[in-house]
């Protein structure tokens, strides 16, 4: 008993072939979409690779690009086959390849599903990469004279302004590192010497943040230095001051940005999977309906179409038997030859 049997006459077959051809063109566009999403994601990761310590994994965007290209390829091929299926002579040359093509399509759909799953799961390693990268970035903020790190200050400043964030978890991260270079510190001043002496590593730590942490929505001019000293500024209480600097940490800001991007890409890939399943099912119907013509010479005869020739269980056992037979096939050959040798 075939799975989802449908009877076809000529008109129905033509209509099926035309609609599946049409859907294949949408599937080609979907393949282009997946490719471009992968490219876009790769570029976005590249743009901020400095903040991730140049350590970020490009596996997911590369996979998306690869899948997009393959999707374009097989969907173009499928469209061509569908177009030719209306003409029996042209279809005859594609017929032998169709079964393996359909199996390949099923495998490809499974891989697409894995890709979609990865899109939702890649958030976790990204979180660790970002935490590490930002911590190092902040450490090198002051090294504007070291080759290879001289743009870190600018990158961090631009990022804090663009993403409206400050520090790794929050603005207090800036209190724990020295972000003013020694070149601009007056070592003859007592205040500087005291500060450097006051901690183990000899770093110039202060309760201040760079200007890029300032929030333009604040009603008062930005207070960047001596932030925890309430008496240094008139009418200022650093516990209740909400709008002075950005409250959000940059790790959280970047994570939500990339996370949102990956969620959108994952959702779109799932829609592409559904489209691919539909075209695969349609192609299977086209294939089966054209191979079961009641009268092979007469193109107008009736035929049947199905998804699977037998039920799911029977198909599964068939596949298992075939695989066992392939394994045994070699052994049976040897046994036969040995018997012949002994007889003669």
């Amino acid at each position: 008993m075939a799975l989802m049997l449908v009877k076809f006459d000529l008109k129905k077959r033509v209509k099926l072939a035309q609609s599946v051809w049409f859907m294949y063109w949408f599937a080609v566009l979907a393949g282009v979409l997946v490719f471009s999403m992968g490219l876009f994601f790769k570029i976005e990761l590249r743009k901020r690779s400095e903040l991730m310590d140049n350590n970020e994994s490009h596996f997911l965007p590369n996979l998306l690009i690869f899948m997009g290209l393959i999707a374009c390829g097989i969907n173009t091929f499928g469209g061509k086959v569908c177009y030719d299926s209306l003409d029996p002579t042209k279809f005859a040359k594609w017929k032998p390849m169709l079964k393996s093509f359909l199996v390949f399509c099923v495998v490809f759909n499974a891989l697409l599903f894995v890709t979609a799953l990865l899109c939702f799961l890649m958030r976790i390693p990204l979180q660790f990469t970002l935490a590490e990268g930002l911590r190092n970035g902040m450490k090198y903020y002051k090294d504007t004279d070291t080759p290879g790190r001289c743009y870190m200050k600018r990158t961090l400043d631009l990022m804090q302004m663009e993403f409206r964030c400050c520090g790794n978890d929050n603005y207090r991260d800036w209190f724990e590192i020295q972000w003013v270079s020694n070149r601009y510190l007056d070592f003859s001043a007592k205040e500087v010497k005291d500060r450097i002496g006051s901690n183990v590593d000899g770093q110039y730590l202060m309760d201040g943040v760079p200007f890029s942490c300032c929030n333009p929505s604040s009603p008062r001019p930005c207070i960047q230095l001596q932030m925890t000293n309430n008496s240094a500024h008139y009418s200022y209480d650093h516990y209740t001051e909400e709008l002075n600097v950005w409250k959000r940490g940059c790790r959280y800001a970047l994570l939500s940005y990339y996370g949102g991007m990956m969620n959108t890409i994952g959702a779109l890939v799932i829609l592409v999977i559904m489209l691919e399943i539909a075209v695969t099912v349609g192609m299977q119907y086209v294939n089966s309906s054209l191979s079961t013509l009641a009268n092979p010479e007469d193109p107008e005869s009736e035929s049947e179409g199905w998804i699977l020739e037998k039920t799911v269980k029977e198909t599964f056992t068939d596949i298992m038997d075939k695989m066992k037979a392939m394994g045994k096939g070699g052994k049976v050959e040897e046994g036969g030859e040995a018997a012949v040798a002994t007889v003669s």
Partner: protein, 360 residues
């Protein structure tokens, strides 16, 4: 002697009608482009409208929007007309509308040209508006508690960050206004009171700038306060000063930004104008060719098409004569009811022969 006279065979007329139909549809698309350019310009101006004074006088975006909509309507109608013009029978339907349509399109095309030229000429008006607007915005920077001005601080900060500029002409403009609100000044502090007393208007002026003037290219942490005091910091040399803050004034930055946009829009509108002129010429040729064919009687004959029936000078002269004689038409010279003097009664000459032609 007709201006630009061309002979058209029947096949050529039909081809011309088809081509013009297609061109009219392309013109509808360019009309949509014109409309969206106007909309884009309006949105761009609206974004920074707070730092422009009298921004309502910028009529360029409104002109582009109305011209774009008019282009769509006129060219859609033109497409319908050209489609019917291939056939002489259908042309009769449009015969009376054609001339007014062409005149209307001619005026509309000159509006498009005016729009394009306006885009290029707006620079001086924009500069004046920006100068006044930025000056006021900086003056009200500190008024974050005054309704209607509370977002001006944010706008100016975002402007300086985004356009990488500081102040009106330069960063020194901030030294001349009080940009720290009195709410955050400790009036009991003698230093503050001294500063307030040191100038006539009692303003708290200082040689410092807001944080948004800080340049991201500077290798050292931003120096915002005591900018005139060289010795306040270590190694505050000429180079440090150059890279510390944004050097450009915001007026110049915004002017460059908007001039760039206007120039590109102006160029596009000029190209659209040339295209519309081409379509108008084609429609004029089609109209004259079809009318001449109708005069000849046989739709299969060749006919002439032209832009103007006579040369420009002759046309001007004939129009002038029409206007002159419009006045003469109403002069009553030979009304038989008027009493003619008796001396000339026996020499009465029938006056019908000397009736003046009212129409020429």
């Amino acid at each position: 002697m007709a201006v630009g006279r061309v002979t058209f065979s029947k096949a050529e007329r039909e081809k011309l009608a088809e081509v013009l139909w297609l061109l009219n549809w392309i013109s509808v698309v360019t009309g949509v482009i014109l409309f969206s350019l106007g909309l884009f310009l309006k949105v761009e101006i609206q974004k920074w409208a707070e730092v422009m004074s009298e921004y309502g006088t910028f009529y360029v975006p409104h002109m582009l929007i109305t011209t774009g909509l008019a282009a769509c309507c006129i060219n859609y109608l033109g497409g319908q007309i050209c489609l019917d013009c291939a056939d002489t029978n259908k042309f009769l339907r449009w015969k009376l509308v054609m001339m007014p349509y062409i005149i209307c399109t001619f005026f509309f095309t000159s509006c498009v040209l005016a729009g394009a030229l306006m885009c290029y000429s707006i620079r001086s008006q924009l500069e004046e508006s920006l100068f006044l607007g930025l000056r006021n915005a900086m003056r009200y920077y500190k008024d974050t508690d005054t309704p209607g001005r509370c977002y001006l601080k944010r706008t100016v900060d975002m402007l300086q960050i985004q356009f990488q500029c500081c102040g009106n002409t330069g960063y020194r403009d901030w030294f001349q206004i009080q940009w720290i609100s009195s709410r955050y000044l400790d009036m009991t502090n003698s230093a503050v009171v001294d500063r307030l007393r040191s100038n006539v208007e009692g303003k708290y002026l200082m040689d410092g700038v807001p944080f948004s003037c800080c340049s991201t290219f500077s290798p050292r942490p931003c120096i915002q306060q005591h900018l005139n005091n060289r010795t306040a910091r270590l190694h505050y040399d000429q180079e440090s000063q150059q890279q510390n803050l944004w050097r450009r004034g915001c007026r110049q930055a915004l002017l460059d930004h908007y001039t760039g946009i206007m120039e590109s829009i102006g160029l596009t509108v000029l190209l659209i104008w040339l295209f519309e002129l081409l379509v108008l010429t084609g429609v004029r040729y089609l109209q004259t060719a079809m009318e001449n064919v109708l005069l000849l009687g046989d739709p299969d004959l060749e006919s002439y098409g032209w832009i103007l029936e006579n040369s420009l000078a002759e046309m001007a002269r004939s129009n002038f004569n029409i206007i002159k004689n419009l006045g003469k038409c109403y002069q009553v010279d030979d009304d038989p009811n008027i009493n003619v003097p008796t001396a000339a009664a026996e020499h009465e000459v029938p006056s019908q022969a000397t009736r003046i032609q009212c129409s020429s």
